[in-house]
């Protein structure tokens, strides 16, 4: 039943190929050849002409400005402004492709078969077999196009056998197949691996634990605020409602108490509709309402202060009382977030002892020390190789999907160990594993620089966080193009940043990236939560004065917006 319970793109591939081969056999060689030529030859034409045409458009201001404006409007209207470059390049490619297909059909029309032959001649089996093969080629291309077109609305599992084959055979001669690989397959894999490594490194569990600690602090701060400020801002009726439930100075509990099925804070909000401070009151009380489940956990389930528990105790308690707690959440988003945090903690807690053994570091005594040890492991090639081998040899007591993902990631790591060893060790492991799969294309040939469609995608993704590929490709771009002269072991300071900017100038001068794109890229380095800058900051690798120093710098790639962000 599993087979039909989830959408399987392999079935679509099989159906398309069967239909294409059938059509080929039906059409026979002469007519199928026209269809195949019209479908395949334009790709070869595009391989040679695409770059030239895009270069011509970009070098002709009149055309470039018009296309830029028109596609700017369209992209804005569709809410796809982050994809503007790829929309322009895709449109030009489509027009070129259609024009070449039209020319081929026209030329083919100069060699017609006579009516007598078409009507009277019996098709030979050989002709049908060859036409079937040509139909198969057509089917392959149709599948690639379908994969790209359906991706935004379909869940495509790239690990399914046929889908994986389609992905493996992507090539620069069919640019859409390569785009599909770098835009969809790589990103999906990256997210999957990142999630798994965040689990393994303890990041997820630590984040969940820290989020709970933060909420605990927030409740304390809010209670103080209610007592000292907000209570006095309320009207007499509201104060009476609170007073009726108040025990000592526990304002949070008073607001969250339910009277006749309604929370006190809801009645207060109704009463205070005309209060000049209503926006602040609403904000605070809504926070309470949304996090009611945590309050139950922190104030009633835990007997002591949150800080006195370690992550495994918290995890155990959350799992035991999960149903009671989640029932307290009013909003679905908040409940889902709570359940995710519970799972993150529980998953890690159940594997912690095995992970500690694998890490083989006597310094590990708790979650924070494990985290530090693991992040050190990731930049030590020798330890990492041994760890990968040990991980693959381990029989886990619980084989969750995350463990399976990690096994496949480490399997891939082991196969490409040498190539990965040549990459910058500071690059996230998930990025290194994914890029190593096509190492030559990324590190040597740098295919994306010469392929217009890929270049447009990279420009869009490096300049826009919302495209989804920033996590993987900003790292690739940073460590491959910009960080050549940076020694990370000593930390990252303003001199290193100046060196990065200098490298970026070289990249812009070579035409690989525009100056506008460079400005956006630098901005995103500070905005994206998992950017290299933020990861170093988290690791404590950034110079404490870096942001101030950058704020004081004058450089064409440092926008005013960024300065404001850093200054703030």
């Amino acid at each position: 039943m599993q087979f039909i319970e989830t959408f399987n793109f392999d079935i679509i591939i099989i159906l398309v190929l069967i239909a294409s081969v059938t059509a080929g056999v039906y059409y026979s060689l002469y007519r199928q050849a026209r269809k195949t030529l019209a479908l395949v030859v334009p790709f070869i034409g595009l391989y040679f002409l695409y770059g030239l045409v895009m270069g011509f458009i970009q070098d002709t201001p009149a055309i470039y400005d018009v296309t830029n404006k028109v596609f700017g409007w369209i992209a804005k209207f569709l809410g796809l402004l982050a994809y503007k470059n790829i929309m322009i390049t895709g449109f030009v490619g489509l027009i070129l492709y259609l024009a070449m297909a039209g020319i081929i059909i026209l030329i083919y029309g100069f060699f017609p078969i006579t009516v007598e032959k078409r009507v009277l001649a019996k098709t030979k089996p050989f002709s049908r077999v060859v036409a079937g093969l040509l139909g198969f080629i057509n089917g392959y291309i149709i599948v690639i196009i379908l994969m790209a077109v359906l991706k935004p609305i379909a869940t495509i599992d790239y690990d399914r056998p046929l889908t994986a084959v389609m992905n493996e055979t992507s090539n620069v001669y069919i640019p859409i197949s390569k785009l599909n690989e770098i835009q969809n397959a790589n990103i999906e894999k990256y997210e999957k691996y990142k999630d798994a490594f965040d689990f393994l490194s303890g990041k997820q569990a630590a984040a969940a634990y820290e989020a709970l600690a933060e909420i605990s602090d927030d409740f304390q701060t809010l209670n103080d605020y209610f007592e000292t400020t907000m209570y006095s801002q309320l009207g007499v009726d509201s104060q009476a409602l609170v007073d009726a439930q108040l025990i000592g100075t526990d304002f949070v509990s008073a607001f969250l108490t339910e009277v006749d099925g309604t929370m006190v804070l809801s009645d207060v909000l109704t009463e205070e509709a005309d209060n000049p401070e209503i926006s602040s009151i609403t904000e605070k009380l809504t926070y309470l309402k949304n996090n009611k489940g945590y309050w139950l956990f922190l104030s009633e389930i835990l007997e002591n202060d949150f800080d006195t528990y370690d992550f495994s105790s918290i995890s155990e308690s959350l799992s035991t009382n999960s149903e009671v707690i989640s029932a307290e959440f009013v909003g679905v988003r908040e409940r889902d977030l709570f359940l995710k945090r519970r799972d993150d903690l529980a998953n890690f807690a159940s594997h912690f002892s095995q992970f500690t053994v694998l890490a083989d570091d006597a310094a590990i005594v708790n979650l924070p020390t494990y985290k530090t040890s693991f992040s050190d492991l990731l930049i030590d090639a020798e330890r990492l190789n041994a760890y990968a081998a040990a991980f693959l040899a381990t029989e886990f007591t619980e084989t969750s999907p995350l463990i399976q993902t990690l096994q496949s990631a480490f399997g891939e790591y082991s196969r490409n160990q040498e190539t990965i060893g040549l990459m910058n060790p500071w690059m996230a492991l998930e990025s290194r594993i994914i890029l190593a799969h096509r190492n030559a294309e990324w590190m040597t040939a740098k295919t994306w620089e010469t392929q217009p469609l890929l270049k447009s995608y990279m420009t869009d993704t490096l300049t826009g966080i919302s495209t989804g590929g920033f996590g993987l490709y900003h790292e690739y771009f940073f460590y491959t193009y910009l960080a050549g002269e940076v020694t990370f072991a000593d930390g990252f300071d303003v001199t290193d940043f100046a060196s990065v900017l200098s490298q970026l100038e070289t990249v812009v001068a070579s035409g690989t990236m525009s100056a506008d794109a460079a400005i956006s890229y630098i901005e995103n380095l500070f905005l994206y939560p998992s950017s290299v800058i933020n990861v170093w900051e988290e690791r404590g690798n950034l110079s404490p004065t870096l942001f101030d120093d950058i704020y004081a710098m004058n450089h064409a790639y440092l926008s005013e917006e960024l300065k404001t962000l850093l200054g703030g």
Binding site: I4, T6, Y26, R118, L120, I153
Partner: protein, 337 residues
């Protein structure tokens, strides 16, 4: 009985360039027929009966590419003279016939061939007109554009509904309303796993239907196209055949009559190439017509199967889509109250 003449006879040999005069000989007319032709003056033929049957045919319908016997000249064909049969060449050169008689026989022979040819032509052309009437409307197997768009739309919609992890759902769930819908849908699928199965199967069925519709349209379109091509061909061929025949027939007739009138002692046999059928001919015409009829017959005969399968696909896929969408909407509406 006319007085036998001493006749000079030219000797021709067939070469790559047609008949070439290689010499002359003088002989007594009364013995010539027997020595120069395989046919005797009394009409006795030395070849087998099948070839004889073949030679009773029409030289204007001869086709060197398909004929059972290779003929070199129109003069080999047999014509009837009263109760006897003689090779056309023998009649031409028979000293027993007067010039007037020979002219009369030539005219008669051409008239017979004309009549034969025109009768055959008329039969085939009339058959074709009947075929056109019988086949009638050739657009009987169409899937409307609206239907095709509906299938494609349903396919997209089903994929979208069942692929709850997609980029589009992610974007929709960013907004509160979208998030509520998204969450409800997830809940519906979790509560009724059969719905997800129906959704998946419907999606596969829809893509199968899309391809079936494509192949169905392809066969139908192909048939219509070939039918129209054949009709155009037949229309054009009809004119070409009539024109070509008229031209060849007149030329051959003139060729032999001018010989009779000119008192020339000899004439080269007219090469069969000058009278044989062209590339466009009645036989091809008839075959094209026949194939068209056969195809129309096959298509019309298998129409119930095609339409039946189409209706099954339509029923199952639209039914499946309606079940998934209807059930999801029903659950969503119920949850509001």
């Amino acid at each position: 009985m006319p007085k036998p003449n001493k006749l000079k006879t030219a000797v021709y040999e067939l070469s790559e360039k047609g008949y070439v005069k290689v010499g002359e000989e003088t002989s007594d007319q009364s013995t010539m027929g027997a020595s120069a032709n395989p046919y005797q003056t009394d009409g006795q033929i030395n070849t087998d009966s099948a070839k004889m049957l073949f030679l009773r045919g029409n030289p204007f319908m001869y086709n060197s590419k398909t004929a059972a016997y290779q003929i070199t000249s129109v003069e080999e064909y047999l014509i009837k003279i009263r109760k006897q049969e003689m090779a056309f060449g023998d009649v031409l050169r028979n000293p027993e016939f007067t010039r007037r008689k020979r002219r009369k026989l030539i005219k008669q022979a051409f008239q017979t061939w004309d009549k034969q040819y025109n009768t055959q032509k008329k039969t085939v052309f009339t058959e074709n007109e009947k075929t056109v009437d019988v086949i009638g409307d050739v657009n009987f197997m169409k899937i409307s554009l609206g239907m095709k768009l509906l299938i494609i739309f349903l396919f997209g919609l089903m994929i979208f509904i069942i692929s709850t992890d997609s980029f589009l759902w992610e974007k929709i769930a960013e907004h509160n309303f979208g998030f509520r819908i998204y969450n409800q849908l997830i809940g519906i699928f979790e509560g009724a796993s059969w719905l997800k199965i129906v959704g998946n199967l419907t999606t596969y069925l829809l893509i199968l239907f899309i391809f079936y519709a494509a192949i169905y349209t392809m066969i139908s379109t192909d048939y219509v196209k070939e039918y129209k091509m054949a009709q155009n061909y037949l229309k054009k061929s009809e004119k070409t055949i009539s024109r070509q025949y008229k031209k060849k027939s007149q030329k051959a007739r003139k060729y032999y009559l001018s010989y009779i009138n000119s008192k020339k002692p000899f004439i080269a046999p007219l090469d069969i190439k000058a009278v044989e059928e062209g590339q466009v001919n009645i036989a091809t015409f008839d075959r094209v017509r026949q194939v068209t009829v056969d195809r129309a017959y096959k298509l019309k005969k298998s129409r119930p199967i095609y339409v039946g399968i189409k209706n099954i696909f339509l029923f199952l896929s639209v039914g499946g889509a309606a079940t998934v969408i209807g059930y999801a909407l029903f659950k969503m509406i119920i949850s509001v109250f």
